[in-house]
Amino acid sequence: MADFVFLPLVSMGVFTIGVYALILDTDLLRKIMALNFMASSVFLLLISISSRSQPAVDAIPHGFILVAIVIMVSLTALALMLARRIYQITGQLYLLEDENETGEPL
């Protein structure tokens, strides 16, 4: 039971850090890292949920994590390719502001 307090709390903390970095950082690589942070924190939560059931470990969340990892790898590859192209063309790793947007770029 004590395990199920520590790990989930840590994972939620990591998730919030990811949200923070995704919203406030302007660097594209950091944003991509932030997305991976969020994903990893959810994986951590799922692992702690699966280890919670006492007689045997519930393996279905492991299956979820496996699927989600593959998807995150694909998404990260795509995001890195986009970021690389943006860097090659504009010479900087920031998002250009769109015409109508006035607030902080997400």
């Binding site: 998730f15 990811g18 949200v19 995704l22 594209l28 944003k31 997305l35 969020m38 994903a39 924190s41 959810v42 939560l45 799922l46 949920i49 919670r52 519930d58 279905i60 969340p61 979820f64 699927v67 989600a68 998807i71 694909s74 998404l75 795509l78 995001a79 986009l82 970021a83 192209r85 943006i86 063309i89 504009t90 900087q92 920031y94 998002l95 250009l96 502001e97 769109d98 015409e99 109508n100 947007e101 006035t102 770029p105 997400l106």
Partner: protein
């Protein structure tokens, strides 16, 4: 009785295999394979429809592993309606995209706006906003006070960059997107919803880049961040649900879900994630759509957004416990009302046609949120009417917005500019364009009135004010465009020599189809009534 799972499987697998084959065989294979896929899909959709029509709701356990351990494909009235909508839009978009990309290929000119050399930081480019607008070779039709877009880095790769190569890659991506959409509409599992949502993101992000501008790259990157953020929030929410219930398929969740702190948080997160995905909450939609090629914009507006909304509809009415919904639905309606009025007002302010339509999309997506307070959980006798009206509204919006974007693409083709003031006298050049835009625009104005009946029944008169204001604003921005299209020319608009007739006949057909949907209202409501969450109430 369980029917053969052949047809339901081919709904997902045929576009997938078609996409792989197009990717393997390269350019020009799409001219054979895409029609083949569409024909095969029409057959399997018809067979699936017959199965559902005659035998009622179907669920197909995959590889004979039934829930809760395995995964099932689940078809009821709502999913078959969404599948048919997807198919119709797919056919029209495919036809349109053939024409569009052959035109687009001739126009391809890689132009990049340079940020001001003195100010390296990009935040400074706000001062010369117009410098940022990249229109494909459109500088001549702009007024003279617009700074000319600087064209740089057009040096081709020395190894003979194959022209149109990227445009050909639209087809595998589009078929993969179609496969993901069908998989989403057939899923009965919250985790499968997550996976298919990610497929939609993965397939639609590279398609935005096909527009060949640096702003398109930016829009794709921004869209990816927002979409993946929403997906992560959704994943966290379903992790909560799994932690409480121990299963993620809709049937088990519907039986076992009780309200509690974790469930409240999960509902909040799912609502946030899916409203972001369906383009309602932060207004990412406009910049993404304004920088995407027209067929891709149509796919985003008509299909990808609706898919996220479909999930919200499913979980809201079939999973979440009723006692929670009664409390928060008025709040959701308030959010929807604010967004309807704000987005319609923004649409009125726009100077570019695509951006105007993008804001219109946001407003129309928010209209459908109004059915949550109107249906008020599923407790009341009018709930089914509200639910059905919402779905009817959602499907017709998909058709109308697709038609409007196609017309906008055609106008872009004629005047070579996105600015509304440059479109004077288009009606003289191409009357059919004007007719199509008028039909579709009038549909857009009239359609939200479908919600009046549920409002009347439920007695929640305050939403009527929102509908009236929204309709007035919609009429204003549609007539603002129509007025300019009708205007007599002062000086002749430069336009391309041969107008593609098919490029205008496709949206015309689509808008006539939307009007014709009213004729089949009885059939549509019979399809939707099949084993809906309100099935029992409706029978009583």
């Amino acid at each position: 009785m369980m029917d053969s799972p052949l047809w339901v499987t081919s709904m997902i697998m045929l576009p997938l295999i078609g996409a792989i084959l197009i990717f393997i065989f390269g350019r020009y294979s799409e001219r054979v394979l895409v029609p083949l896929v569409i024909i095969a899909m029409s057959i399997s959709l018809w067979k699936l429809f017959l199965q559902v029509w005659t035998n009622g709701v179907q669920s197909y356990p995959i590889a004979n592993w039934s829930i809760p351990l395995g995964v099932e494909l689940y078809v009821d009235g709502l999913s078959i309606a969404m599948l048919i909508m997807t198919f119709i839009i797919s056919v029209f978009v495919s036809l349109y995209a053939f024409k569009y990309f052959s035109w687009f290929q001739e126009q391809t000119n890689w132009s990049v706006p340079i940020p001001d050399k003195n100010t390296k930081a990009l935040g400074q480019t706000k001062n010369n906003k117009e410098n940022q607008i990249v229109i494909i070779e459109a500088t001549e039709s702009l007024p003279s006070n617009y700074v000319e877009t600087v064209t740089v880095t057009t040096k081709r790769d020395p190894q003979a960059f194959p022209k149109g190569q990227a445009n050909f890659l639209f087809w595998p991506l589009w078929l993969l997107l179609w496969s993901g959409l069908n998989a989403l509409f057939l899923s009965s599992n919250l985790f499968s919803f997550y996976v298919t949502l990610e497929i939609l993101t993965l397939a639609s992000v590279p398609m935005i880049v096909l527009n060949n501008t640096v702003l398109a790259l930016n829009a794709a990157m921004r869209y990816l961040f927002i979409a993946v953020f929403a997906s992560m929030v959704y994943l966290l929410a379903i992790a909560f649900l799994y932690g409480v219930v121990g299963s993620l398929d809709i049937q088990s969740l519907a039986l076992e879900l009780r309200s509690g702190a974790t469930i409240w948080m999960a509902i909040f997160l799912i609502f946030i994630a899916l409203t972001i995905k369906s383009g309602i909450l932060p207004f990412w939609l406009t910049s993404t759509i304004a920088n995407a090629p027209i067929p891709v914009a149509i796919l985003l507006v008509a299909l990808v957004i609706k898919a996220a909304f479909y999930i919200l509809l499913r979980v809201w009415f079939e999973v979440f416990p009723n006692e929670i919904l009664g409390l928060v639905s008025q709040l959701v309606g308030l959010i929807a009302a604010v967004i309807i009025i704000w987005a319609s007002w923004q649409a009125l302010q726009q100077r570019q046609l695509i951006r105007l339509l993008a804001y219109a999309t946001v407003a129309q997506a928010a209209y459908v949120l109004l059915i949550f307070p109107l249906a008020n959980g599923i407790t009341d006798s009018w709930s089914f009417d509200a639910w059905q009206a919402g779905i009817y509204l959602s499907i017709s919006h998909a058709f109308i917005l697709a038609a409007l974007f196609m017309v906008a693409g055609h106008i872009l083709y004629i005047v070579n500019s996105d600015f509304i003031h440059a479109m004077q006298g288009v009606g003289r050049i191409s009357p059919l364009t004007l007719i199509t835009f008028s039909i579709a625009g009038l549909c857009l104005i009239v359609l939200p009135s479908i919600l009046v009946n549920p409002i009347w029944q439920s007695g929640q008169w305050w939403w009527l004010i929102v509908i009236i204001i929204g309709t007035l604003l919609t009429a204003s921005y549609i007539f603002k465009v129509l007025m300019i299209l009708f205007t007599k020319l002062d000086d002749p608009v430069k336009h391309e020599g041969n107008l593609g007739l098919s490029m205008i006949l496709i949206p015309l057909l689509l808008s006539i189809l939307t009007v014709g949907m009213g004729v089949f209202e009885g059939e549509i409501s019979r399809v939707l009534a099949m084993e809906s969450p309100f099935g029992e109430i409706n029978r009583n």
